[in-house]
Structures are given as structure tokens and as C-alpha cells.
């Protein structure tokens, strides 16, 4: 080939070796083509591209390799270059092997020994073009996906919306993306949620990453609210961080959840109705019966007076009986009143009314409501924390949660053996939360279905027994108040469901400020409770009136009594404690410090062994059942303290 080259300029010829190396080693194909299209020269890359030898190349015409569709293009390429216009063209070439490549040709005219020759450098751009096409497609696809996505997407750049998809445009009741772009996102958020959202955006920009899902309300063009669930991430866009928010319109889902809550409530009312009727009819029976008795007794007294003329001992005895019967009637009436009150709170229509709630009372009301269903199967043990802070929620809805958990617990237990079947209900507080725990001794939940139990319509109960909505509704209700529902379960041993709820801070502060000013410190009171939170609460309350000593066990208490001998006016003690329980403490105190045992006041969770039950019957000491009214506790303690101080004064004086 080199030999066939026509003679060249002298200075150029000097560097023929360089030229050869340059052309042969070049990465691109280099061709010299005569004006009629016949090849003069091709470098190593050129012949490799076309798949022929150098010897073959010079016998062939350029146009033979061009695809027929590009012949015109090739002809014009040659024509233009020969007219002296350098040219860049992309031409499809079919190689000797039949492969087709897209080649980018950069062509110029050179003159060698008076002969005009086309020199062109060909670059195979097939792969690049294909990649570009793929990229273009995928970008278009991505844009299409984002534009048509059912979830709304907004990009916020420096406080302004820079991108919006069709879904968010529809959600907001607008007609075009342009109505959103350039505006502040806060123009489309309901005023009460603006602070919340702006705090989230600020945090995201500061800390990066992503914000978890929240629910808030957007404001449509027509002013109507739209419920959305939104999460946002910080992404790089044109080299700077922007906030990308993904929003799902959950208005419909909210409506469905609301419906599910109602359905569950109806199902629960169905389950409870029979029980409630029984619970009302029971006291009603003895109310009516006692009224009959009283009626008879009035007749008896009347007859007696007519016969004897004097209101004698017989009449007095009958009156005393009547008084007892009236007391029973009152109890029955109160019982009915409480049941109706519970039912009213449960079914009341004002579902969204949020009030300040006493957790213990709400749990108690739920127990009353479901007692008839539960009591057949199991005994209930209560361990309520003293002086729990209040929380903000709808009491009916919380009752619904608790009743569901109680019914579930009782259904999880087989048979009616109340010695074996037990539901322990515990309330308490930690950090800024209060909790209530329902622990059953039922069959437990298999691990493989544990993650599904909060799913709507998931049920393991036979058809007609459960709706499968209960736990999912409980979960929803609690989530609404920022609470959580947790479950722990051991197969064959039982399950524990724990409801966690936020304390109503505002109310707690108000309550703290409304405490009456402390009177002068009067006596010394020892408080004994194995539950630290209860001990704390009792001490905190009593401190305002007396000097308070505290013990976490009966043994601790004995130690303190020995140390403070003669300087303790009253002892407030839990009954159920490990090691030394309240009864043992009483006996120990009676043995070592006779007289002091009379100044013990007991607190109980409401349930105790037969032994303790019998023991309590034999002693005159006050026994307060949790949850109790603190004022009542204070007065009883004050009474004991006063009595003790009076005796001391008496002794001192004597």
C-alpha cells in the first residue's frame, strides 16, 4: 500500500515513517477515496471495520459498503467534500461480514500530485447511538411514570415548587402543572398543618435522608381539605439539594377506615349487647324484689301500728330491714347507672370529640362493659397505677380498643376455669407516656401469623365470631392519637397487648398548679409498694401533707420501722408484694411493735388469695381498692395520723 502511494512533498516525505505510524496506530478508521468512490487507502482500523484485506480494499468502491438507504447521503458527502466543503456525516455501513455499523465520517479534500482525494476519518458510533437511544427512552419512560403516577409528586427547590406531576394537580383540583410550578407549597397546605410541614422540611434540609410518613391535609383550589399521607426525601437536582415529596390521597382510605371502625363497633356492640342486658337485668331484679319487700314491710308496719298503736321494737326492726333494702336498691341503681354511662360513652355519636381522660377510669368502664363476656371465662386481676396523668382522646374510642382487647383475651382462653384463666390488666407511666397492658393466659399467637394480626379482615376465629376488624381498628384508633399497640406472645402461654398513649401535658401542668397549698407538715407516713411508679406517685402526693418515707418491699419497711421506732404515724402498704406481702408485714409489725399495726392502711389491686381475703376480714384496718380517689386516701391517712398524734400528746401530757 505504502508503495502505491503517489510521490509526496519533500518535507512531508521526511516524516513518512511518522505518518505511517500515526495512521496505522490510530483508533479510528482512516480512508483515502478517489472522487469516483474507489478506495486508495485504508488503515488497520479501516480494513478491520470493513472486514477485508488491504489488497482487496483498493479494488473496491466506497458506495458498495454503504446501505442503499444512505447512498444519497454518501453521494452528497463526496460531492460536497470535492467542492471543498469539509463534512461530517453519519452513514450506515454494511461490512463484508454483513454487519451494519453506524459510522461518523469527518471528511476533507486533499490534493496529492494534482489529484483531488477525499480523506475521511470514520468513527464507529453504533454503540454510543444505541446507548443514547436507550437513555433517551428510559428518561422518557421515567418522566412518563412520574407524570402518570397515581401518587402525587412535588419537587420543592428553595421554597418554590419546581416540579409537579399530574396526580398532585388533580388532587388539588387544578388543571395544569403550570398552576403549581413557581408557587410556595404552603399555598396548598391547610393552615393548621403548615408549621408541622415546614419543620419537617427544615429538618430534612439540615439532616438529609428522608422523613417518615405523616398525615396532613392539603387545601384544594376550592378550599376543601384533602387527606394525604406524605413522605419526603432530599435529592440532588442540578447539583443542589431539593425536597421531593410523595403524597398519597388517603381521603377515601380515611373514609373506609372510619367505616371499619363503625363496623367493628357494631360487631362489638352485638357481642356485648346480651351481656349488657344481663348486667342491667341482674341489679334490676334485686331492685324490683327489694321494692316488693319494702311494700310488704310498709303494710306490716301499718298493720302493726293499727293493732298495737305504738311504734315498738318490731316496727323498728322492720324499719332497719327496710333501710338495708333501700341501700341495696341504691347499689342496684348505681350499678345500672354505671353500665348505662359506659354504654353511652361507648356508642356516643360525637366520635371526634377529644377530651381529657383518666386512663384507669376508661379501662374500668371497658371492664364493666365486657365483664359479662369475660367473667365466664377468666378472672380479672387489676394492677392500676396510682395518680396517672391524664391523656387526650375520645373515651368511647379508647373503650372500643380496650373492650376489643378484653374480648380477644377471653376468647384466647379455653374452658371456664377461672383458676387457670386470668387476664392481668396493668396501667402505668414511663417517659411521656401512659400504658395499659392486657396479659392473658390463653393459647398465644403462632409466630408466623403474628405480623398479620393487625391486618384488616385477618381473623383466626370461626365465621360469625370475629369480623377480623378488631385489632386493625384498635391500631387505627390508637395511631390517631399518636399511640401504639404492641403485642408479645408465647405459644401455649398467652399474649400481652400493650397500649401506649401520650400524656396530656397541658392538663398535667394544670393539675400540678391546682394542687392546694401545703398545710404544715404533720406526721410521718411510711409508704410501702413494690411497684416503683406507684410508690413514686403516692409519695409525691402525700409529701404535700406529711413527711413521707418509702419502702419498695415489706423487708425494707421493717428496716425503716426499726430505725424510726416511735416516729411513724401511719403506714400505707400494698397488699400484693413478693417476699413479705402486706399481711406478713402486718403480722411482723404486730409482733415487734404492738399497736403500730393498727395504723396500717392497705391498698389492693382488687384481687388476692383466699388467705389474704380471710385475713382482711379479721382486721379493722382500712383497705383501699385501686384505682382510688386520692382525696379519700389523704383523708384516711390524716385520720390515722391525727389519732396517733393525739395519743402521743396524751401520753406526753400524762
Amino acid at each position: 500500500m505504502k508503495k502505491q502511494l503517489p510521490p509526496l512533498e519533500n518535507d512531508w516525505r521526511l516524516s513518512e515513517g511518522v505518518f505511517h505510524t500515526l495512521t496505522e496506530e490510530a483508533n479510528d478508521a482512516i480512508f483515502l477515496i478517489k472522487s469516483d468512490g474507489v478506495f486508495l487507502y485504508g488503515n488497520r482500523q479501516a480494513v478491520a471495520l470493513l472486514g477485508i484485506s488491504k489488497e482487496e480494499l483498493v479494488k473496491r468502491n466506497y458506495t458498495e459498503f454503504v446501505l442503499p438507504e444512505d447512498h444519497k447521503l454518501a453521494a452528497s458527502q463526496i460531492k460536497l467534500v470535492m467542492e471543498g466543503k469539509p463534512n461530517n456525516t453519519e452513514i450506515r455501513v454494511r461490512t463484508n461480514n454483513g454487519e451494519i455499523f453506524l459510522i461518523h465520517f469527518s471528511s476533507v479534500k486533499i490534493v496529492v500530485d494534482g489529484q483531488e482525494i477525499l480523506m475521511t476519518i470514520g468513527k464507529d458510533i453504533t454503540v454510543r447511538k444505541a446507548a443514547e437511544a436507550v437513555l433517551r427512552n428510559s428518561e422518557e419512560n421515567l418522566r412518563g411514570i412520574i407524570r402518570e403516577m397515581p401518587d402525587g409528586i412535588l419537587v420543592v427547590d428553595s421554597g418554590k415548587i419546581s416540579f409537579a406531576n399530574l396526580s398532585i394537580v388533580r388532587t388539588l383540583g387544578l388543571s395544569a402543572v403550570e398552576e403549581l410550578v413557581g408557587r410556595s407549597p404552603f399555598d396548598f397546605i391547610q393552615p393548621e398543618y403548615r408549621t408541622l410541614v415546614s419543620e419537617r422540611i427544615a429538618r430534612l434540609i439540615k439532616e438529609g435522608g428522608s422523613n417518615p410518613n405523616i398525615r396532613f391535609k392539603l387545601q384544594r383550589q376550592d378550599g376543601n381539605p384533602v387527606d394525604v399521607e406524605s413522605r419526603s426525601i432530599l435529592v440532588q437536582f442540578d447539583g443542589k439539594p431539593v425536597v421531593l415529596a410523595i403524597m398519597k390521597d388517603i381521603t377515601l382510605r380515611n373514609q373506609m377506615e372510619h367505616q371499619a371502625t363503625l363496623n367493628d363497633k357494631l360487631a362489638t356492640v352485638g357481642t356485648l349487647a346480651a351481656g349488657v342486658a344481663h348486667e342491667v337485668n341482674n341489679p334490676l331484679s334485686y331492685v324490683l324484689a327489694n321494692l316488693v319487700f319494702i311494700n310488704e314491710q310498709i303494710e306490716d308496719v301499718k298493720r302493726h301500728l293499727q293493732m298495737n298503736g305504738t311504734f315498738d321494737e318490731t316496727c323498728q326492726k322492720t324499719f332497719a330491714e327496710m333501710k338495708g333494702e333501700l341501700a341495696d336498691i341504691t347499689k342496684g341503681g348505681e350499678k345500672i347507672r354505671d353500665i348505662v354511662k359506659g354504654l353511652k360513652a361507648f356508642v356516643r355519636t360525637n366520635e371526634d370529640e377529644v377530651e381529657s381522660i383518666d386512663l384507669n377510669q376508661t379501662v374500668e368502664a371497658a371492664i364493666n362493659m365486657s365483664f359479662h363476656v369475660v367473667k365466664q371465662k377468666a378472672r380479672i386481676e387489676k394492677d392500676f397505677a396510682v395518680d396517672l396523668p391524664r391523656l387526650k382522646a375520645n373515651s368511647g374510642k379508647l373503650q372500643q380498643v380496650f373492650i376489643n382487647l378484653l374480648i380477644n383475651a377471653s376468647q384466647a382462653m379455653a374452658g371456664n376455669n377461672r383458676d387457670k384463666n386470668k387476664i392481668s390488666i396493668r396501667t402505668g407511666r414511663y417517659d411521656g407516656m401512659v400504658f395499659v397492658e392486657f396479659k392473658d393466659t390463653g393459647v398465644g399467637i403462632p409466630e408466623n401469623i403474628l405480623p398479620r394480626i393487625f391486618d384488616p379482615f385477618f381473623t383466626t376465629k370461626p365465621i360469625g365470631v370475629g369480623t377480623g376488624l378488631g385489632l386493625s381498628v384498635c391500631n387505627e384508633i390508637l395511631r390517631h392519637y399518636g399511640g401504639t399497640l404492641e403485642v408479645q406472645s408465647t405459644l401455649g402461654q398467652g399474649s400481652t397487648f400493650t397500649v401506649n398513649l401520650h400524656i396530656d401535658r397541658a392538663n398535667e401542668d394544670a393539675a400540678a398548679n391546682s394542687v392546694p397549698p401545703a398545710e404544715k407538715m404533720r406526721g410521718r407516713v411510711l409508704v410501702v409498694d413494690d411497684e416503683p411508679s406507684n410508690l413514686d406517685a403516692l409519695c409525691r402526693l402525700l409529701k404535700k401533707y406529711d413527711t413521707v418515707l418509702s419502702a419498695l418491699s415489706g423487708l425494707d419497711a421493717m428496716g425503716i420501722i426499726e430505725r424510726e421506732v416511735g416516729h411513724i404515724e401511719a403506714i400505707l402498704s400494698d397488699i400484693n408484694m413478693p417476699d413479705m406481702n402486706g399481711m406478713d408485714l402486718y403480722k411482723n409489725v404486730a409482733r415487734k411493735f404492738p399497736g403500730l399495726e393498727k395504723r396500717i392502711i392497705f391498698i389492693t389491686g382488687g384481687v388476692f388469695s383466699e388467705e389474704i381475703k380471710d385475713f382482711l376480714k379479721t382486721i379493722p384496718n382500712a383497705c383501699l381498692e385501686k384505682p382510688f380517689n386520692f382525696e379519700e386516701v389523704r383523708q384516711i391517712i390524716a385520720g390515722v395520723v391525727d389519732e396517733s398524734l393525739k395519743n402521743q400528746d396524751g401520753k406526753n401530757a400524762g
Binding site: 337485668n281 341482674n282 334490676l284 377461672r418
Partner: protein
Amino acid sequence: MKCSDFTIMFAEDDPLSQKVYERAFVKDGYKVVMVEHGARALAELREQKVDLLVTDLQMPGMNTLELFPILKNDYPRLPVIVVTGHYGNLMEDFKAKGFDIKAIFNKPLVVSELKEKIKKILKIDDMDEPKK
């Protein structure tokens, strides 16, 4: 036969209802045995002669439905009256299970009606009653 010849057992877990039974039937002269649930009822039945059982349908411990098969087997001639707060066709359910129940009383209970029924079952003639 008169009231004082008979012993009636009441199975009832509610203390105030117990009081009502006691008050109403002791006054009439019956011997009254009060039990809290089915298991105690069986224990007392082994101890003493009982002429009629009035039982609440649902009680903690052992309820009536668990008690009946044992009664049917061990005390087939003991007349039983059921008191319940539940409505529905209980009598048919009992018959289907082969339990012979003399009567079902719904709550709220009218004591005088219960008294009448018991007298009929025990064949007590009011004329034999001692004057008050």
C-alpha cells in the same frame, strides 16, 4: 306439704341477688342453701337433701351448661329452674340436649312468679300455710 318441708338451693354469684332469694324464701319458711357456682352446688348436693334447684344460667367457675350433664346423671329427679338475663329459645336448646328444665325465668326476675312456680312444682298448697 308446706314450705318448711322443703330445701331449695339457689346457685347465684351476685351477693345482692343472693340476699333477695334468702330474704324472700326464708320468710316463707323454706330451708335455703346458697351457692356461688356449679361446682359448689355439686358439693352441697352431696352433703344434703335438696328438693329444688334455682340456678343462674351463667356463673363463674362452673356454669349451668357444664352442671346439667352431671345433674342429669346423678340427680335425675331434682327439679331445676333456670334464671337468665339472656333471651332466646333456651327451653328448646335444653330439650334438644335432653335436660328436663321445669321453668325458665328471665331477668329482671319477678320473685312472686318464681314463688308461685316453685309451689306448683313442689305441690305446696297455700291452704296448708301457717298464718302470718
